[in-house]
């Protein structure tokens, strides 16, 4: 199938009211979900997932992608108006967004956040279209040893950069891998940790684990402290962003978008580091660097470009290699699997129409984001006023229905609650949940590729180092571990030295 054929096939899939409606509704849900303090883009995507079961694959996935895109932008609204980032990715937006709001320029800050988000989103989507196909054609040469090395590298980097400590990230990933061993053995079909329960023979349900880890801890956290996230909402003011101001910040927006694309295409880094890197680069290069942190519009633009630049790029490793770049793409990977699709290089051959349909949908999502975002900025007051004592019980009910609907199994609801408490303990002990979930998803793939490699080589471990591709990933893994350990040692020494000086 030529490029044009694939493009036309994709267009025929998405050129209908249903797809555009799903995309628009998705962006709206995402913006509202991201804008509600205490919820997040991840939670919004996870809670929307069960509603896609009844849809066609392309419509369902477009709905989720819309929620993802909307959620990342939505997080910037409370970041600017009430100094509470709606998503971790919006933390950098607070630095200049809230001081602008204090000066009565919230409307200007939100307008710039929207323009920067849409520009970065478009650049990120174009990068996805350009690079995913190329990477997928390269990945067609991968065998089990190459995939084993790639997944190991992905898990290492996710464990290393998701939290404050490599060791806590590693512990989280190991627990996720252990949880993934529950069920029948892949080769011999014998029981592993099933306790003789037939519900556990197929392993734990991914959606139950996912919603348990990312939605239930928020409910438990709200029960622990019902007054958290209460804040005073600033008014929008009468200042709106002008085209000249957008032009003045354009270089920072494009730079931030490319930073987002680069960091987003590496599995595990995510949007928050990208936003902070983009912000610090903009401050370093700006004429108004002294004004950063005091209410600089360019700071808002850079932070938002950094976090939205990641949104399309995280789909590059997912679509091309079958490795999710962050938690949200892990959920989207789950959606692919529920609809009988396996993301990875083969999808570019077997389901090229769906891939190109998604690309077209993603480009359109930037337009929807601009339109819906403009309305959401003005409507935030109503979203912020939703009483948390009503919202979170509703989320609890939504979780129960959503998890039950996957397999029509009440056992999964119990699994979700159990995982919710695991997730809450992880929050209390500052253990990142992302490595846990991604290891849970990639665990069977990692083990399967390892055992296939061993079968191919007659159990010689040398096959895991058989060529330049495996060496490349092993090298990256070593560099990542060394860099993270060095950074950890520096961070530990820093406070000791400073306390000695005092």
């Amino acid at each position: 199938m030529s490029f044009l054929d694939s493009l036309l096939a994709g267009l025929s899939l998405v050129a209908n009211i249903e797809s555009f409606l799903a995309l628009g509704v998705g962006v709206a849900i995402g913006v509202v979900g991201g804008a509600i303090p205490g919820m997040s883009a991840t939670m919004a995507v996870a809670l929307t997932l069960p509603f896609t079961f009844a849809m066609s694959p392309i419509t369902g996935i477009l709905l989720l992608l819309g929620v993802y895109k909307g959620g990342i932008f939505g997080g910037s609204i409370p970041a600017i108006l009430i100094k509470t980032p709606g998503t971790p990715a919006s933390s950098a937006t607070v630095l200049d967004g809230y001081p602008l709001a204090e000066q009565g320029k919230a409307g200007k800050a939100l307008g710039m956040a929207l323009w920067a988000s849409c520009t970065a989103d478009l650049i990120s989507n174009l990068a996805l279209i350009l690079f995913a196909g190329w990477l997928a054609s390269f990945a067609l040469n991968f065998g089990p040893p190459e995939f084993f090395a790639l997944i190991l590298f992905s898990l290492t980097i996710i464990a290393g950069v998701s939290g404050n400590s490599l060791l806590r990230g590693a512990l989280s990933a190991l627990l996720g891998l252990m949880l993934a061993t529950i069920g029948l053995d892949l080769v011999y079909g014998t029981n592993r940790f099933t306790f003789g329960n037939s519900n556990m023979m197929g392993g734990l349900n991914f959606i139950a684990v996912l919603i348990g880890l990312f939605a239930i801890p928020e409910i438990v956290g709200m029960v622990w402290n019902p007054k958290a996230h209460d804040g005073k909402t600033r008014t929008l003011g009468k200042n709106w962003v002008t085209f000249q101001e957008y032009k003045d910040s354009f270089r920072s927006i494009v730079r931030g978008s490319f930073i987002g694309v680069f960091l987003g295409s590496i599995p595990g880094i995510g949007a928050a580091p990208s936003a902070f890197l983009s912000y610090s680069e903009a401050r370093r290069k700006s004429k108004n660097k002294d004004n950063f942190g005091k209410g600089e519009l360019e700071g808002v633009a850079a932070a938002e470009a950094g976090n939205n630049g990641v949104a399309g790029a995280t789909l590059i490793p997912l679509l091309a290699l079958g490795v999710p770049g962050d938690v949200i793409t892990a959920i989207i990977m789950g959606a692919f699997m529920i609809h009988g699709l396996q993301p990875g290089p083969m999808m570019f051959i077997l389901n090229a129409d769906i891939i190109y349909g998604l690309f077209i949908g993603l480009i359109v999502s930037s337009v929807f984001l601009f339109l819906i975002g403009s309305v959401a900025i003005r409507g935030f007051k109503y979203v912020a006023d939703i009483p948390r004592g009503v919202l979170f019980p509703a989320v609890l009910v939504l979780c129960i229905y959503g998890v039950y609907a996957v397999n029509n199994n009440l056992f999964d609801v119990g699994v979700m609650f159990a995982m919710g408490w695991v997730g809450y303990m992880m929050v209390r002990y500052d253990i990142p949940a992302a490595p846990f979930l991604i290891a849970f998803i990639l665990g069977p793939l990692l083990e399967d590729n390892f055992r296939q490699s061993m079968l191919m080589s007659g159990s010689s471990p040398l096959i895991l180092f058989r060529g330049p591709i495996t060496w490349f990933f092993w090298g990256l893994t070593c560099i990542t571990v060394i860099a993270i350990i060095r950074a950890g040692i520096k961070a530990t020494r820093g406070p000791v030295i400073s306390s000695d000086l005092e």
Binding site: A170, F193, Y404, M454
Partner: protein, 163 residues
């Protein structure tokens, strides 16, 4: 709790978990055929490898915890009344437990209505009437979506049945 205490607790927890897996859980709960010639292909290999790495991570966490400086001051608690916060946690745990056991008997819709109301009361919602209305409307709307649009067989329970 300081970062140092968290690190140490996690380290000891990981060591205990690793030992439990290696000496109790894996030998008793993972079965392997007796004719597997190579250990790396055995269903036991992967769980043992993960448990081993878990132990190593535990050692690392303990070592990092011991190296970390002792905090000068205790971090401030995130809630005003800690005993009440723990009581609320117990409350939500009971709600979850009762939900799981009530679903097959009462059905998903009625159980969810009760769970909604109980959770709203637990956090002492400032909008009790809205909460009560939502407690009835939200499960019903979700029931009609999943049962009649998505075609999911929602359990009805033994008492009141919905169309």
């Amino acid at each position: 709790m300081s970062d140092r205490d968290i690190q140490l607790r996690l380290g000891f927890g990981a060591l205990v978990a690793s030992a439990l897996f290696i000496f109790i859980a894996i030998p008793n709960l993972v079965s392997a055929p007796s004719n597997v010639r190579n250990i790396v292909l055995s269903p036991l290999f992967w769980p043992y490898a993960i448990a081993g790495f878990c132990g190593l991570t535990g050692v690392g966490l303990v070592a990092a915890g011991l190296r970390a400086p002792k905090p000068q001051t205790e971090p401030e608690p995130d809630v005003d009344d800690i005993p009440k916060a723990y009581l609320r946690l117990l409350g939500i745990a009971i709600i979850m437990l009762v939900t799981v056991y009530a679903m097959p008997r009462l059905g998903l819709v009625w159980t969810c209505m009760l769970a909604f109301t109980a959770t709203a009361l637990l956090v002492r919602t400032s909008h009790p009437i809205t909460a009560l209305v939502c407690a009835v409307v939200v499960p019903l709307v979700l029931y009609f979506f999943f049962a009649h649009v998505a075609g999911v067989a929602i359990p009805q329970g033994q008492f009141v049945r919905l169309p």
